[in-house]
């Protein structure tokens, strides 16, 4: 299991374009990828589901935790970190 904590800097939080990019990235891996909102203490949800990620209500400045488990968990965690830390500048 790979876990990484990330701060969301995007002005609009994790919705619209950033949410789309986030879930698209999570969807690339065989691993089970989950995410939770640490700031609001919400439970883990499937990071590949845009609808579930939207329900986390992640706003600018919130900290999320991503957990990946599976054969490509290292790569998944690393690439999701790069996406978020690069502020979704894909």
């Amino acid at each position: 299991m790979q876990k990484v904590k990330l701060t969301i800097h995007a002005e609009e939080g994790l919705h619209a374009r950033p949410a789309h990019l986030f879930c698209a990235e999570a969807g690339k891996y065989k691993s089970v990828v989950q995410v939770r909102n640490l700031t609001t203490a919400a439970d883990f949800v499937n990071a590949k589901s845009i609808l579930m990620v939207l329900t986390l209500g992640v706003m600018q400045g919130h900290v999320v935790e991503v957990a990946a488990e599976g054969e490509d968990e290292l790569l998944a965690a690393e690439n999701i970190r790069n996406l978020v830390e690069g502020n979704f500048a894909a």
């Binding site: 619209a16 609808l51 939207l54």
Partner: protein
């Protein structure tokens, strides 16, 4: 409906419009009577086929949106494509099918479950995503029911009457044919409201079911100043409406026409009327409204929403775009002013308990001089050969000004060494927004080329009142005599030392404040672009000589309420100038 009827709602975008009704047709998406579905696999196939058809439609909408409105407007449809086959949504649908639900109900209940969850979120931007989920859901449901979505084609310019509009509907309709929107549902943050504001057309929302009884082709008057829609107006109502509309548009267009002429008082004194901006787009807008330059360019946007400093070349590029948009007009740039209400790790800005009294603005220069040096360097490189004025925010102590000036001089020297033919008409100024700076103005004036008074902060720091706190915001007014005295002191001292003095707070664009500020001989009014035409008209109708008396009298009053009432009475007493609160007070 044969008699005239008046409907009331919430104004969501300002303006007046008259025209014929276009009643937006909805597809009937009523679910069939519940029936038992014995074959979940067949039901699943049916849903799968409907999703595929919906995906194709969304793909086409996405292409249309991209070609008509651009990439960023089209991005929402990427999210729609993702939502329509969302794993969690499909799991819920599969569960419902296994439990024996029919495909229409299984789909619709799952969509509603997610829309309901999103609606409950407190952030209005996120809760608005519920509309996207329902938009996607309805598209699939229409295919499940075998009822294709009704195409609404607006043939001639009309007032659109609808229950509410989905994101795909608002994106796809021909905006040039819409005179106004009136919706029975929706709120001030609905898609319809956001679109109307962006397009600059009037909109009234939450008008109630009754408006859906209006017939296609009915004559309508939309007045979103008071949130009313008049259906089949009487002749008297028509006349009154036309008079109001003509008056508004004539005033606005004559103001705009005159906006390109300088603002000279009746007794021949010229003042500069310039704009407050935050981007290159704002700069172009300012030029179109007759701004004679920019008196405040906020640069925080270059530093926010990032995890490291923007590289120098990109900073230079951003500033160059603004300079280019100004076509040679002078530019006053304010250096970085972010405080501990935001957390910006790479700048060392942490959340603070009292961020407006904390580590921000020029106070950062002692710990992190390199941030300011880098910004100066980018500005100097972008401003080569131009009229560039740089000012620093939040000055409270003389040492801050000395230090900033030193860094600017050093940076300029380095730039000159690197580029032997480098030239710039450079001025260095400071914001006067902390009372201590106004009170030691004679010690600061010799170090600078100009002062710019920031009334929003000056007011909150002088009165110790947070203007964001709704319970005390009404009292946190720059009309308070203490604020007026600090303004007077700043201008007087600045002039004694031969420096020009501007103002870049909202107060400078407040019509009632203009006679007072002219009387104190303020040199430069920096206001929001849209306020410029009106401010110039007011200045032209005043004489500085009269205004000196007005200012002296106002300074002698004890209470903000008295000052405001007095200055407003001056304004409404001016010949040919009526104080109109709906167009007069433009906040930036």
């Amino acid at each position: 409906m044969t008699k005239s009827t008046i409907f009331k709602g919430i104004s969501a975008a300002p303006g007046l419009a008259s025209g014929l009704a276009f009643l937006w047709q909805e597809t009937d998406l009523k679910l069939p009577e519940p029936y038992v579905c014995s074959d979940p696999e067949a039901a699943w196939q049916k849903i799968h086929a409907a999703i595929d058809q919906a995906k194709q439609e969304i793909g086409q909408i996405r292409l249309k949106a991209e070609s008509r409105l651009g990439k960023s407007e089209a991005a929402i449809f990427d999210a729609h494509l993702m939502m329509v086959e969302d794993v969690s949504l499909l799991e819920m649908v599969t569960e419902a099918l296994k439990a024996g639900a029919n495909p229409e109900a299984a789909w619709n209940n799952s969509i509603e479950a997610f829309a309901g969850m999103l609606e409950k979120l407190s952030d209005p931007l996120l809760s608005a995503r519920a509309a996207d989920v329902r938009d996607v859901g309805g598209r699939v449901l229409a295919h499940l029911l075998g009822r294709p979505l009704v195409e609404n084609t607006i043939e001639s310019p009309s007032i659109v009457i609808a229950r509410d509009l989905t994101p795909s509907q608002t994106t796809l309709m021909d905006h040039s044919k819409v005179l106004a929107f009136c919706t029975s549902e929706g709120g001030p943050t609905s898609h319809t409201a956001i679109l109307s504001k962006a397009l600059g057309i009037p909109a009234i929302v939450a008008m109630g079911e009754a408006i859906l009884g209006i017939s296609n082709g009915d004559l309508l008057l939309v007045n979103s100043e008071n949130g009313t829609l008049t259906c089949r107006p009487s002749e008297a109502q028509m006349l009154e409406f036309n008079r109001r509309q003509a008056q508004k548009s004539a005033q606005a267009s004559s103001d705009l026409e005159m906006a390109f002429q300088p603002a000279i008082t009746r007794d021949g004194f010229r003042v500069e009327v310039v704009a407050n901006i935050g981007s290159a787009e704002d700069a172009s807008l300012a030029v179109r409204y007759g701004a004679e330059g920019v008196g405040l360019f906020r640069t925080e946007f270059l530093y926010l929403n990032r995890s490291s400093m923007l590289v120098l070349n990109q900073q230079v590029e951003n500033y160059s775009q603004v300079i280019k948009a100004l076509q040679g007009l002078p530019l006053v740039v304010r250096t970085l002013d972010i405080g501990g209400d935001k957390q910006v790790d790479y700048l060392g800005i942490r959340k603070e308990g009292n961020p407006f009294l904390g580590w921000r603005g020029i106070r950062m220069v002692f710990e992190r001089p390199e941030i300011l040096a880098e910004q100066f360097r980018a500005l100097l490189l972008a401003g080569r050969g131009t009229d560039l004025r740089i000012m620093i925010p939040m000055v409270a102590r003389k040492e801050e000004v000395v230090r900033a000036r030193l860094i600017l001089d050093e940076t300029l020297q380095t730039v000159r060494d690197e580029h032997p033919s480098y030239q710039v008409r450079l001025q260095f100024g400071i914001m006067i927004e902390v009372p201590s700076a106004a009170l030691i103005a004679e010690h600061l004036a010799p170090l600078v080329d100009f002062f710019s008074i920031g009334t929003n902060d000056l007011t909150q720091y002088t009165l110790a009142m947070d203007r964001m706190n709704a319970r005390i915001a009404p009292f946190a007014t720059p009309f308070h005599p203490a604020v007026l005295r600090l303004i007077e002191r700043t201008i007087t001292v600045g002039h004694e030392y031969g420096k020009w003095v501007g103002m870049c707070g909202e107060f400078a664009g407040e019509p009632a404040a203009i006679p007072f500020l002219l009387g104190l001989e303020l040199d430069e009014f920096s206001i929001s672009p849209a306020s410029i035409p009106l401010a110039k008209r007011i200045i032209r109708q005043l004489s500085r000589k009269d205004c000196r008396e007005i200012a002296r009298f106002a300074l002698g009053l004890a209470e903000a309420g008295e000052v405001e009432a007095y200055l407003k009475s001056i304004l409404s007493g001016m010949s040919g100038l009526k104080f109109d609160s709906s167009i007069g007070l433009v906040k930036n």
